[in-house]
Amino acid sequence: MKKHHNAIAIIVVLLFGTVLFYIGTDGFRAFTAESARTYKLLQDKPVFPSVTLEDSQNRSYTFKEFADGKYVFLTFMYTSCTTVCPQLEMNMAQVYALIPDSYIGKDIVFLSISFDPERDDPKTLAKYRTYFGSDGETWRMARITNKEELKELLDRLGVVVIPDGNGNFTHNSAFYLIGKQGHLLEMMDFTNIDEAASTVAAILNEEAGE
Amino acid sequence: MHRLEEMWIAISTGILIIFMVVVGYQTFALGMGPPSNKETIDPQKVDQTEPFDEPGISKIGDNEYEVVMTLQAFGFTPNNIEVPAGAKVNFIMTSKDVTHGFQIAGTNINAMVMPGHIQKISHTFDKPGEYLVLCNEYCGTGHQLMSTTITVK
């Protein structure tokens, strides 16, 4: 009889564990908050909020004006970063190179947004741009000077930025693709250049094929 | 254990806790913590790195001064500083070679200055006089010569 109870207890505990883990990880899909965030963002497909950009050539315009019905390939960075950002931008440059020229500027534009507007003034961005071969037109680097707009954008796209007190930030990084209507379409692993490029190219091709 | 022993242990632990509360209050609420700046620098490129490429004293506010200082065997740059009485002085220091100490005798300004690390400490000089600044960490044969002065007028 006792054995019986024990066995039931074990089964109950195991069931509880399975349910707990299933709920806690979105059905064994997301074990880190980052993957959970990606999963959730792709489900929700949030709209890119209205923000005003100031780019490396001192031009100011809203995101909508910049996108102008095109796809936007997006990253978040800051120029004083010595760890991930150079890698992120370098990889972005490679994706840029892998997208067929015919689409660039016409169907898709590239944008690197700095979340450190205090230090990343247009002059700094202009210099930083040249390290990665961004042309300043079809691939622009810009800051958002309005703090509230910046916060809203980071929140909406789930970018977490924590200052470490020594002038640096710890932040999560990814490639973002914004659709023609301003919705988030894709979030891609920035370390996997080929996959990101082919995903983007496939979307563009499909569009062109229609 | 004996009752007296238990009481004694409780009292010792109590004293320890009270002591920690006092130290903690001073450190975190009154901002009297020890110099613990966490910025770093390449110790072999101090001369080329801002702000240590131009060590010196500058006025940054109402009777507030900033002293950017490098320590090296066996001296302080800049040396023989002068400030008016009542001035608050913020020292920003690093070492160009070995570990040095920065002590102003007669005050409780005392900080280790280590290669690769930027140390910061502030003090308000209320009393006029010529203060003796010395290195209090052994830094080589000339260690006993490593000193300068701060004149408060």
């Binding site: - | 254990m1 004996h2 022993e5 004694w8 242990i9 010792s12 632990t13 004293i15 320890l16 002591f19 920690m20 130290v23 001073q26 450190t27 975190f28 009297m32 913590g33 020890p34 110099p35 613990s36 700046n37 966490k38 770093t40 620098i41 390449d42 110790p43 072999q44 070679d97 070995v98 570990t99 100490g101 002590q103 102003i104 005798a105 409780n108 005392n110 900080a111 280790m112 280590m114 290669p115 690769g116 690390h117 930027i118 140390q119 010529e130 203060y131 003796l132 010395l134 209090n136 960490e137 052994y138 830094c139 080589g140 044969t141 000339g142 260690h143 006993q144 010569l145 000193s147 002065t149």
Partner: protein
């Protein structure tokens, strides 16, 4: 079964002969080295004190910092280490009924390694290739041989530790259901702490060797410093634990009393072993690169040592009072007069215990954030460790000599020698009070430590220190006199005192005292707790120091 019989036989022989000759040889060799280094180190100490006060000028072929480096290494490292090993091995041999032959081999291996190491390191100091002081903070870079010498010393320590562990384990296996004798328990505590404390400095020195040879270009200065104090501060507490063993176990017997409740004694040993290592961080309170919250945690960890120390104070007063009252001491303080003040074996450790009161109070000053800033790296600190090490520890060691050496050498302590010992104790006490007292005061006025004679261009502040430095010089002279008398006494008791049998004064528990609980012997658990405390203290700052490290420093020679 056979083994137990053999062991019993061995114990009987020891009882009959008084002492195991081969074990005594181990201890006597260590003690001889100890007092040889004490003599040299003491002379260097006086030279240094006089130079510092401007009373003497060093010849051009030697500089102050060389003398200081040698003084520090010889006294703080070699004297206390060799004395401790000699004494602890004697304790172990007595308490466990003789050392195993294997263990003696470990002790001799340790002895040879340490002698080689010390010779290598000191040679480099004499050649002026290693004027880096005993703390050898990088990026001051000594000759690689200096560091290699230190590695030998540490290996010697490890050999002695392993010897103790083996003997302890052997005894445990053969005595099921019995708790180990208190002296052996103390020895175990001392060597467990020593073993884990030495790991820090071993790692540091091993990284400094390739760096000083130029194979590795730069080193992380902060990490080196932190690893040094992991070891450096624990070392001081190891000597303290050794002294405590004599206070708890030997002193009660000498005054005709009984030792304190064994459970509390063992608890004190365990706490000292577990809590000790993170104490080293208070040497870095005003360093850059460590956040204030981490420093606060370490202030707490350093101060937690105060709890077992206060327990010791309580226990010792209780033991002294009980013994005094048993001898007829009346009234509140009448028992004090009944204590054997004329017996050097009591007088020296008693003054040592008293000295621990200001020593401990000074330690609390050094450990706390704000007060540390007033006295950091001033002569106060020098005064502090002359009170704690020079008085609390070394005077206990001296007191031990007057029974341990006759016991080991199968000789007797003569009344003349006892009188000489009392005189020595008084000279030493006066010398230390003068020297350490003036150092404390000068330190409060800002007089820096580790500095050759200087008046900083006759600056008035610096000139105000000079009178204290004179007093320091006088104290140092008295202390050298004390050293000479002590060394003479040791030689006399080793070789010239009349032959005879001296008892090993081990105190007994009070009548009807409960036996010590068996769980106190769970050394595996204590080691795990020690490691967890070390991890709590060190993982966060060391990872931070490495991950957020500045570019390293190349070796630099500034002497």
């Amino acid at each position: 079964m056979k083994q137990t019989q053999a062991l019993n036989l061995q114990q009987k022989t020891i009882k009959a002969l008084g002492v195991n000759t081969s074990d005594a040889k181990v201890s006597l060799s260590y003690l001889s080295v100890a007092f040889l280094t004490l003599l040299i180190g003491g002379i260097l100490g006086l030279v240094q004190g006089l130079e510092r006060a401007g009373l003497m000028e060093l010849p051009p072929w030697i500089n102050y910092y060389q003398v200081l480096t040698a003084h520090g290494i010889l006294l703080l490292l070699v004297f206390s280490t060799t004395f401790t090993i000699g004494y602890q091995y004697a304790n172990l041999s007595h308490a466990l009924g003789g050392l195993l032959p294997k263990v003696r081999k470990f002790a001799w291996t340790g002895f040879i390694l340490m002698v080689i190491g010390v010779v290598l390191a000191v040679t480099m100091v004499v050649l002026n290739e290693a004027s880096v002081l005993y703390t050898f903070y990088p990026p001051l870079a000594a000759h690689p041989v200096f560091y290699i010498g230190l590695v030998f010393v540490v290996l010697g320590i490890f050999a002695c530790c392993i010897g103790v562990f083996i003997n302890y384990r052997h005894w445990r296996k053969n005595h099921p259901g019995q708790t180990t004798p208190l002296l052996a328990f103390f020895a175990m505590g001392v060597f467990v702490l020593w073993f884990f404390a030495s790991i820090g400095v071993t790692v540091e020195v091993l990284t400094l060797i390739p760096w000083s040879m130029g194979i590795v270009e730069t080193t992380n200065v902060m990490v080196g410093r932190t690893l040094f104090w992991w070891f450096g501060h624990s070392l001081v507490n190891i000597w303290y634990l050794v002294a405590t063993s004599a206070w708890y176990v030997i002193v009660p017997k000498i005054i005709g009393g009984r030792h304190f409740n064994e459970k509390l004694i063992r608890l004190v040993v365990i706490l000292l072993v577990i809590l000790n290592i993170p104490g080293g961080f208070h040497h870095q309170i005003i360093d850059p690169g460590i956040s204030e919250s981490i420093k606060f945690l370490h202030v707490f960890m350093s101060l937690s040592i105060a709890v077992p120390s206060l327990m010791t104070a309580f226990a010792m007063f209780a033991v002294l009072e009980r013994a005094g009252r048993r001898k007829g001491g009346k009234g509140l303080l009448g028992w004090i007069g009944k204590l054997p003040w004329g017996d050097v074996r009591f007088l020296a450790p008693m003054i040592a215990m008293i000295a621990f009161i200001p020593g401990g109070a000074g330690g609390i000053v050094n450990t706390s954030n704000q007060m540390n800033q007033v006295i950091h790296n001033t002569l106060w600190v020098v005064g502090h460790f002359h009170v704690t090490v020079g008085m609390s520890v070394v005077m206990t060691f001296f007191g031990i000599c007057y029974w341990l050496i006759p016991y080991l050498a199968k000789r007797k302590l003569t009344p003349q020698m006892n009188r000489l010992g009392v005189i020595q104790t008084i000279i030493w006490t006066v010398g230390m009070i003068l020297m350490a007292g003036s150092q404390h005061l000068a330190g409060l006025l800002g007089d820096p430590r580790r500095t050759s004679y200087t008046t900083y261009g006759d600056h008035p502040t610096a000139l105000s220190w000079v009178p204290y430095e004179y007093v320091m010089g006088i104290g140092a002279t008295l202390l050298l006199l004390g050293v000479i008398i002590q060394v003479y006494a040791v030689i006399n008791m080793m070789f010239f005192a009349p032959k005879g049998k001296t008892a090993f004064p081990v105190s007994e528990p009070e009548d009807g005292a409960p036996s010590a609980p068996m769980w106190t012997e769970r050394w595996g658990l204590w080691v795990v707790l020690l490691l967890m405390v070390v991890a709590m203290a060190y993982v966060v700052p060391i990872v931070d120091m490495i991950v957020n490290a500045p570019p390293g420093s190349p070796p630099i020679r500034t002497w």
